[in-house]
Symmetry: C2
Subunit: 183 residues, 2 copies
DNA sequence: CAACAAAGTTGACCACCCGTCACGGAACTG
DNA sequence: CAGTTCCGTGACGGGTGGTCAACTTTGTTG
């Protein structure tokens, strides 16, 4: 029927996407915890058994959905880091991007896991070190610490409320200079 | 029968503890995710309905168990912080305590939530600031960032393997001086 | 093109779980 | 010792997870 791609394969792709879209709607409406696999499949023209041809569990769907969203957000997250001329610019760009993205995606996945962007961050960090912007720390541990801290602070912003710009400034300063008073 | 405390109350306390102990065993054996409320109650001499007189959900039990364990660990976590004479000592004590505790509790609650120790850490931080050890940063945000980073690094130690002492040193240095090269 | 094989969807099915609730017995009260 | 309150019990209805035989559709082969 349609060029190169055989029908079977097209349908498989469509079904998979169908489930992901259904899951996105269901998670947004009831939250991840309350949603059941039945709910997801009901938000779809497919039958219960079909679900298991594509995913093994609800968690599996969450991971796939997370990956899909994280992939879409990838450019936005690293935006501004490559051009940063100073460590401060780098950190500021990082934190404000994470805070913005977290706030937006909160409706679908209350806590999108941005560790998918871990590698991007790590390589950006190494580039920055090569440019002499940073001290040559363990880029892997540093990326983990930055992501974890940003994550937690974003969570606090979402629940307790608070100003993202101010939080960005504070976090930037913390990682820029540390806590020790200058000698 | 027995002094002051009426029997009803004693039994309630015993049942509650019974459920928590059962949960501890079940979580350790099957992991939190795989465990069901029925499993927990079966590890107990009680009947299904009784569970709901004490807890509302599995998550509720996890929180209670987490609180119980976190309370027991409280002194160990803050140990060494109050006596710290320098910022470096403070951070080093903090990180090594978190890494050790996380490694030990991993069998029961794969990820014990140490945010219960948040307040302790925050007040310790404020004391340290008062003693002039630290720059006067937002103690609340700083505590959150420290806990989150320690948590994430501990997770990486548990999965990828790695040396706790070395990780402690690296994390201490990061938060002590930040990433910016000295001018 | 007709026959056949492979792939994949369907929906009923079973075991089990969740949360509830009427019942009954034990603990407190006066 | 009656009366009352409290609470553990276990069966029950509604629903879920994961499976699977039957069926339909797609791709293949002579």
């Amino acid at each position: 029927m349609d060029a190169a791609i055989p029908k079977r394969q097209r349908i498989k792709q469509r079904n998979r996407q169908s489930i992901l879209d259904g899951a996105r709607r269901v998670f947004a409406e009831q939250g991840y915890g309350a949603a059941t696999i039945r709910d997801i499949i009901r938000a779809t023209p497919l039958a219960a058994g079909t679900f298991y041809n594509y995913f093994t569990s609800k968690e599996d769907v969450r991971l796939a959905l997370n990956a899909e969203m994280a992939a879409a957000l990838r450019p936005r997250l690293s935006e501004g880091r490559a051009q940063a001329a100073t460590a401060e610019e780098f950190l500021s760009a990082f934190f404000s991007a994470v805070f913005a993205v977290k706030a937006e995606t909160g409706t679908v996945l209350e806590a999108i896991d941005l560790r998918a962007g871990f590698e991007d961050l790590r390589t950006d960090l190494e580039d920055a070190v090569a440019r002499g912007l940073f001290l040559p720390l363990d880029s892997s541990a540093l990326a983990a610490a930055l992501l974890a801290a940003a994550d937690e602070i974003a969570k606090r912003l979402a629940t307790d409320g608070g100003d993202a710009a101010q939080a960005t400034a504070a976090a930037t300063l913390l990682f820029l200079r540390g806590i020790q008073p200058p000698v």
